[in-house]
């Protein structure tokens, strides 16, 4: 075995029942998949597709109706597996009356980390997620983005081998989202295994090695991202600016070979890229403003 499995899911089924034990929802149906050590794995799917349920089953927060889960070689219900896991819940369910330092100290204690180590690690993580200025404020005063970041910090307090992220970029502005993705890349570099679930394709495509797409509890697709995103039926050409006549020529050449020009236009970066670019530029050159003719001018 060249790379060991960090997570093994076998025939996992979860049926939610109501108070009287009647079947209500089949949230997950016969799911089988493995996550290898060191990879970034994405669980994708629209809302209600069973991503979060899978994650909770992995963590032992829910009990499977059928099938079994092994995580880091242990059954999901064993508490001791948690020593090496970091978990960022969908919304950050932290204690809102604690401030950032207290939060990290609290979760540090739960890992039985000695006081000094706890303190150092907390400081490091707070700096890493950029909350140094707000470390003494109670979380109830935090914005959504800040809460997300402190949530991430608490997930990393034990320097986990496996990190489970539930919708890591939800509620973050594009900049925050970018930071999050950079961070995931960093974790991957360190050899950590990351499992994230999201309904935002863009997030996943940037960072994940492999993805699984779930729909209504069924696994629809499971493969490497680079493979998935290549459409073999389409060839894309990228050239420098072409005059109108040259385009017509190219069109004719294509016709001769039995292919058709599907679309000709100027490539644009997607909105996200644009936003990031703009923000980055404005950070570099403060005071610049966008005007009608499209040329940037200096502020008076």
């Amino acid at each position: 075995m060249e790379s060991e499995s960090v997570i093994e899911i076998r025939n996992l089924t979860k049926i939610y029942r109501d108070f009287w034990g009647r079947k209500k929802v089949r949230a997950l149906n016969q799911l089988t998949l493995d996550v290898k050590k060191g990879e970034v794995f994405g669980l994708l799917g629209p809302n209600g597709s069973g991503k979060t349920t899978t994650l909770k089953l992995l963590l032992g927060l829910l009990f499977p109706t059928e099938g079994e889960v092994k995580i880091l070689g242990e059954p999901a219900t064993n508490v001791s597996k948690n020593e090496r896991i970091g978990y960022l819940p969908e919304e950050t369910y932290l204690y809102r009356f604690l401030n950032a330092e207290e939060t990290l100290d609290f979760y540090g204690r739960l890992f039985n980390i000695p006081a000094q180590v706890r303190k150092d690690r907390a400081k490091e993580l707070i700096e890493m997620v950029g909350l140094k200025h707000a470390r003494r404020r109670q979380l109830r005063e935090y914005s959504k983005g800040m809460t997300r970041r402190i949530g991430l910090a608490q997930a990393l307090i034990n320097d986990p081998d496996l990190i489970l992220l539930d919708e890591p970029t939800s509620g973050l502005d594009p900049l925050g989202s970018r930071d999050m993705k950079d961070l995931i890349d960093k974790l991957k570099e360190k050899g950590k295994t990351v499992v994230m679930c999201s309904h935002l394709l863009a997030d996943v495509q940037d960072v994940c090695d492999r993805i699984a797409i779930l729909f209504e509890g069924d696994l629809k697709v499971l493969d490497r991202v680079d493979k998935l995103l290549v459409d073999e039926g389409v060839t894309q050409l990228k050239t420098s600016q072409l005059p109108e006549n040259v385009i017509r020529e190219v069109e004719e050449v294509l016709k001769r070979h039995g292919a058709s020009l599907m679309n000709v236009d100027h490539p644009t970066s997607n909105l996200e890229d644009l936003f990031i670019k703009t923000v980055r530029e404005s950070k570099e050159r403060p005071g610049q403003r966008h005007v009608a003719d499209g040329k940037p001018t200096a502020a008076s």
Binding site: V79, P89, Y93, F97, Y107, N112
Partner: protein, 550 residues
């Protein structure tokens, strides 16, 4: 004294209850799992038990402390301590309402002390009840608990940490209110009242009676009082109230010139007599081994150096007041021999004291605790602190029950459950025991209803036809149910230590002194006994449920 706390009996009951409970739970779950899951079922049960053992073995004080600290911070930041402000305001104004300037200090002290302790209890108990019942359900509702249980934190650590945290909050408030209350009491009382703030340390004897012919009896005469606590002896007859004291040698009597006692007798006059004078009584001291007896001389005055100047052979009973008696050490018997009370009458620490009423056709009455040897007083603070400890233990019990209940039901239901358990434990235990131990006449619920409508008295035999048998069977099942849940309700009567403090007695460690029913050790033991099972219950409840808000 019927309410003595039977330690060994309690232990046996405890072990048998816990044992049979465990047995029942394991049997039922193994059998149930077999029915549901076939062969793998019992294996699953075993693996749960194995995991439980593992969990308990890896209990970490640091994690418990983390939860405790979290709980405390939560309560403080959520302004639970505001109840302290209510307390402060109450006391700011209480003096306006409780002052009874003309009352004598003895009565005033009782009211003030009882007021302070009751107020403390009434403020703290609902607060910790609500806090403890809402803590975990709220955690589950907002899913904060997901961030905790996905850490290596064991479920029992959550329960213990919560219990400790809420108890700490209660304890903190208790300490603050205790101090404020103490200062308040001192400030309310004048110098004379403050003198009454003591913790008397009594040594009680076992009481017995002799009737008018001098025959031993367990009880004296009932003079028609509805309250059967005290019973009476007739004056001018051979009727006696007898107290057998033990363990007097444990106290240093060598240097004393008297044996200090205190009497609280009641008087019943069959004719008015001289209304300006009390009924006179005499005290006889008897050596329990040699049966040597003599009238005890009571010190009536001392000179300036503190030497005994005068003694009297009788004393007038002041009803409902402390009658302080100093039994002089120098005793003269009938033949005129001079004897020593401690040497000639106290034998191996035992002393018998007989009390007789002098005037004919007048009666004096007493119960066991109405005559006692009064050892040097302890400071009032001691009994006050013990009384507060009683409230603290009660708080702990309520927290444990509340936290445990909140692990399997939501906040409101947990609150109701806990409230109900506390209510039954505080008021209904005696009633429950009567029903369960089948000392109840007239049958169970349905039989009683039938008897009421059929106008049958409890003695009438019911016809032994089928409907009646079914009815009694159903009633029997009801009683069986009550019997099985009886020990769910802690007997809170042992926790009420306020009367001792208010009445100026040291709080007893072991046996309650009637008519009160509290004592420190029983309440400690009850607390300890309930603590672990409830926490284990809470552990399993958190372990075996999906911590998902529904």
């Amino acid at each position: 004294m019927g309410s003595e706390f039977d330690f060994s009996g309690a232990l046996i009951t405890y072990i048998s209850v816990i044992g049979s409970l465990l047995f029942a739970i394991i049997t039922v779950s193994v059998a149930g799992s077999f029915v549901v899951g076939g062969k793998t079922g019992p294996l699953a049960v075993l693996s749960i038990l194995r995991l439980a053992v593992e969990d308990w073995l890896s209990t970490s004080p640091r994690r418990i402390w983390a939860i405790t600290k979290l709980t405390i911070l939560e309560a403080i930041r959520r302004k639970a301590l505001l109840v302290g402000v209510v307390f402060a305001v109450l006391f700011l104004f209480a003096g306006w309402f409780l002052a009874q300037p003309a009352s004598d200090p003895e009565q005033q002290v009782k009211v003030y002390v009882a007021f302070v302790m009751r107020t403390i209890a009434f403020l703290i108990i609902p607060m910790v009840l609500l806090l403890s019942c809402w803590g975990i359900p709220e955690d589950i509702r907002v899913r904060s608990i997901h961030t905790v249980v996905t850490k290596p934190c064991r479920r029992q650590e959550i329960v213990i940490g919560r219990v400790l945290g809420f108890t700490a909050i209660g304890g903190l408030l208790l300490a603050i209110m205790g101090v404020v209350g103490y200062v308040w009491i001192l400030r309310q009382l004048d110098a004379k009242g403050r003198e009454r703030l003591v913790a008397r340390v009594p040594v009680y004897g076992k009481i017995a009676f002799k009737d008018r012919e001098g025959v031993d009896q367990k009880q004296g005469i009932n003079t028609g009082d509805e309250w059967m606590f005290r019973s009476f002896i007739e004056g001018g007859t051979k009727s006696r109230m007898i107290w057998n004291f033990e363990g007097l040698d444990a106290f240093n009597l060598e240097t004393a010139d008297h044996l200090p006692m205190e009497a609280g007798f009641q008087v019943f006059r069959s004719y008015k007599g001289n209304m300006d004078r009390g009924i006179t009584c005499q005290i006889l001291v008897v050596n329990p081994d040699t049966e040597k007896r003599a009238v005890a001389p009571l010190v009536t005055s001392r000179d300036q150096a503190g030497k005994i100047e005068q003694t009297d052979n009788a004393f007038e009973v002041k009803e409902f007041r402390e009658n302080l008696l100093q039994l002089a050490r120098r005793v003269v018997d009938d033949e005129g021999n001079e004897l020593d009370l401690f040497k000639d009458f106290v034998s191996k620490g035992r002393l018998r004291v007989e009390v007789l009423c002098l005037p004919t056709q007048q009666y004096i009455g007493a119960a066991g605790p109405d005559l006692f040897v009064r050892l040097p007083d302890k400071p009032f603070v001691v009994s006050y602190a013990k009384g507060l400890l009683g409230i603290g233990l009660l708080t702990l019990m309520i927290v444990v029950i509340g936290v445990c209940a909140s692990t399997f039901v939501k906040g409101p239901v947990a609150t109701m459950t806990t409230f109900f358990i506390v209510l039954v434990g505080a008021t209904g235990r005696a009633f429950l025991d009567t029903i369960v131990d089948a000392k109840w006449v007239g049958g169970g619920a349905f039989e009683s209803i039938y008897r009421i409508f059929a106008h049958l008295n409890p003695q009438t035999e019911l016809p032994s036809t089928l409907p009646f048998k079914v009815m009694q069977l159903v009633d029997g099942a009801g009683v069986g149910f009550l019997r099985s849940v009886r020990y769910l309700f802690p007997d809170f009567k042992f926790f009420d230590l306020t009367p001792y403090v208010a009445y100026g007695f040291d709080v007893p460690w072991t046996n309650p002194v009637p008519p009160n029913s509290g004592a420190l050790l029983p309440s400690l033991i009850i607390t300890a006994g309930y603590l672990l099972p409830w926490i284990v219950l809470g552990y399993f409840s958190l372990r075996l449920r999906e911590l998902e808000a529904k």
